[in-house]
Symmetry: C2
Subunit: 109 residues, 2 copies
DNA sequence: CCTTATATTTTGTATTACAAGGTATATTGT
DNA sequence: ACAATATACCTTGTAATACAAAATATAAGG
């Protein structure tokens, strides 16, 4: 059986990344750092494919930007489609959490 | 991108099934029906492999029981190990939900 | 009989987080 | 000058898992 934590991420990582980018435009490496601070550890091999998926599907747009020091950064911004998707996803997430909480608290007949 | 609902289930289905069986010993088909009522649709092709995994790992035990009508049923009960696992999993689940809620509500700096 | 409901199981598929590694640039320490 | 570290992006291959679909089996009801 895989780590529970790994499994829990499936489905919510895209949601979280959309939400983070919605609050503030971000580049990939920064997202990994920020998620770590917030208590969600992901590797770059996880993040970059997600960013590519979200961009391919039109939820994010990317622009290269020179950095004063170090490599140029690819900044991501959320699109209108991305915002709609995020709103819908958050709704589904909350519904799902409610169901799971009902089950684990044995509050059903 | 797959259905969000499908992805959300990964990781929490085992948790939910352990919790359902903890409350009352159950057989497979009954679990599918009960989950449907509670708002979580899963197919048999999803449930039975999970039950096998949970039994193989020692979290559940199974006993065949004759039914007055229809096929015999394989009833599942939670083990001590299963109860410990469930307690730990619920703790992790709650921590994870808290992190996701922080992110989607933009309540961080 | 034939359909429906009950009940378990198996096979194959698509998705996705991750480990591991590769590429590239700037800073810091010795 | 040189090595190590931090920053930053990307790719490849793997393991885990929900699901569709089908196979198997028994009893009840029209």
């Amino acid at each position: 059986m895989a780590e529970l934590d790994t499994q829990l991420k499936k489905g919510t990582l895209e949601l979280c990344i959309l939400a983070l980018v919605q609050k503030e435009r971000k580049y990939g490496y920064d997202l990994v750092e920020q998620l770590k601070v917030l208590g969600m550890i992901i590797t770059e091999g996880t993040l970059y494919p997600i960013l590519i998926r979200l961009r391919t599907d039109g939820y994010l747009v990317a622009t290269w930007e020179e950095s004063e020091q170090g490599r140029p950064r690819k900044y991501y911004e959320i699109t209108e489609k991305g915002t709609q998707m995020l709103t819908e996803s958050i709704k589904q997430w909350k519904e799902y959490v409610a169901i799971v909480n009902t089950i684990i608290s044995h509050k059903y007949t």
